[in-house]
């Protein structure tokens, strides 16, 4: 399904549904699809999670590497989060270097986690000025059924909360659980049929407009926002979705809590 065919019929159908406050798969405007979360599912990853979110399937894996710290932060480790949006995930994805979509996904998830302060970089120091841990989160999308951002964000934080620092394998002490003090959660809203809805599915994304993603921390503070795709929104619309976001973030955080520890 190439970006060349703008699906006018689908857009019309979505607009008609929206007039009577309906969605194409029968959900309410702010209703989430069914999701499943597994943690610790990847043998060679130090932390891992599999999220099945409607027709979207995403794995996140955490690996650790030892690095020399940056000169200006000799006692701090680092974090890197990348995403691969490979051809396995959908007919529409081509092989080749990382697409802008793939880069945006990784960077938005990265900012949500990094800015929440859930990982204290000082906890990742091994020998100040010499050796620190770099935590690498790789997001691997296997099936794109819509709303990759929220599924990827959930997989990433769940994989982190499940992660063990492999100190023994690197000969720098005993393994220990990666300290993750907070659970930032992303929620994404998409304009479909003229109004913003939560958790758009594949068809809604295809016939929809702009997307707004918000990452909220445990105390309800915002840690990242990202508006993407063509379209605009207004300050009152922003206020409305932030209220909905708060509720969903709470529920999803409880889901993560129930699966780890």
């Amino acid at each position: 399904m190439s970006t060349q065919t703008v699906p006018q019929l689908l857009r019309q159908q979505l607009a008609i549904l929206a007039e009577s406050d309906q969605r194409i798969d029968g959900r309410g405007r702010w209703e989430m699809r069914e999701i499943d979360l597994e943690v610790g599912c990847l043998y060679n990853a130090e932390g891992s999670a599999k999220v099945t979110w409607g027709d979207t399937v995403i794995y996140a894996g955490v690996k650790f590497e030892i690095r020399t710290p940056y000169d200006d932060r000799p006692a701090q480790g680092s974090l890197m989060c990348g995403s691969e949006l490979r051809p396995v995930a959908h007919r529409k994805y081509d092989p080749g270097p990382p697409s802008p979509e793939s880069i945006e996904l990784g960077r938005v998830v990265d900012r949500g986690i990094r800015e929440s302060g859930c990982i204290d970089m000082a906890n990742l120091c091994i020998v100040p000025g010499e050796k620190v841990w770099m935590v690498v989160i790789d997001i691997h999308v296997l099936s794109d059924g819509g709303n990759l951002f929220d599924a990827a964000g959930l997989a990433a934080i769940a994989a982190l909360r499940n992660a063990t620092v492999p100190a023994a394998r690197f000969d720098v002490g005993e393994d220990y659980q990666l300290p993750v003090s907070l659970t930032p959660i992303m929620t994404t809203f998409t304009r479909v049929g003229g109004r913003l809805v939560y958790d758009a599915n594949e068809e809604e994304e295809l016939g929809g407009d702009e997307r707004v993603s918000v990452t909220l921390g445990d105390t309800g503070a915002m840690h990242s926002m990202q508006k993407g795709l063509k379209g605009t929104f207004t300050p009152p619309e922003l206020a409305e979705i932030l209220d909905v976001a708060a509720e969903h973030c709470k529920n999803l955080r409880e889901l993560v809590d129930s699966k780890v520890n």
């Binding site: 190439s2 970006t3 060349q4 065919t5 703008v6 006018q8 990382p98 802008p100 979509e101 880069i103 945006e104 990784g106 960077r107 900012r111 990094r114 800015e115 302060g117 702009e210 707004v212 921390g217 309800g220 503070a221 915002m222 840690h223 990242s224 926002m225 990202q226 508006k227 993407g228 795709l229 063509k230 379209g231 605009t232 929104f233 207004t234 300050p235 922003l238 206020a239 932030l242």
Partner: protein, 243 residues
């Protein structure tokens, strides 16, 4: 965002290190039509940031697979010159510039009347010559003027402007120190005539109340830049700068 409270960013009288008030922007200067061979162009100096934008098109979109049947494609490149920062940047795109190019293209597509030019392409080349903090916003401000200078029809101009948080205080238009050591950054792309938001990113830590203040400051700043954009275009059509 970097540190939290470990660097002093506000004076005792509540003003900022460079003397600006909480809701005061750095000086902004805008010129349209600065590049001879482009179809449209603009120069924006915002604080110590300097950006030049060239627009080419509308032209046939090739290769054909990038064509859209019912609208023009905006092919936007945000590029930092190697000498635009304190440490030299290796030429070529990186992950940061690709993300900024993508969201900037999407924001500009929201204001340009792209449906007027099906199957065509409009190239927008954003070159950052000097970077202080907030270059993506400066690029958006300049791109909107360059598009208008090229005669591309738009619903409104688009203004790039940011607010942020330093020492638990919301401020308009972070400068470099505030960006490095502040607590939050909220760059926005605002259509002043309609009050719509076409571009928004945020990172750091911001409560709902702080967000409201920050958005308000951004709208206020956008209104001021909007006047400068319009003046630059008026000046250009009155026989102003073509170099």
């Amino acid at each position: 965002m970097g540190g939290y409270g470990d660097v002093k960013l506000l004076n005792d009288d509540g003003s900022r290190l460079d003397g600006r008030a909480i809701d005061e922007m750095r000086p902004v200067e805008i010129r349209a039509g600065v590049l001879p061979v482009a179809d449209g162009s603009a120069y924006v100096k915002h604080g110590l940031n300097e950006a030049i934008v060239a627009v080419y098109g509308p032209m046939e979109a090739h290769p054909r697979r990038i064509q859209l049947q019912d609208q023009a494609v905006l092919d936007v490149r945000y590029n930092m010159a190697p000498f635009s920062t304190s440490d030299r940047i290796r030429p070529g795109f990186n992950r940061r510039s690709r993300e900024i190019s993508k969201v900037t293209a999407e924001a500009l597509s929201s204001v340009v009347l792209v449906e007027r030019y099906p199957r065509s392409k409009i190239r927008v080349e954003i070159e950052i010559l000097s970077a202080e903090a907030g270059t993506r916003c400066v690029g958006i401000t300049a791109a909107a003027v360059a598009l208008a200078d090229a005669g591309i029809p738009m619903r409104d101009l688009l203004v790039g402007v940011a607010a942020g948080k330093v020492e638990d205080t919301v401020v308009l238009d972070l400068d470099k120190a505030e960006d490095n050591y502040g607590q939050a950054d909220l760059p926005m792309g605002i259509m002043p005539a309609t009050g719509e938001i076409a571009f928004m990113q945020m990172d750091g830590d911001l409560s709902m109340d702080e967000l409201n203040t920050a958005v308000e400051y951004c709208f206020k700043g956008a209104a001021d830049i909007y006047e400068l954009q319009k003046a630059a275009l008026k000046d250009r059509y009155n026989g102003g700068d073509s170099q």
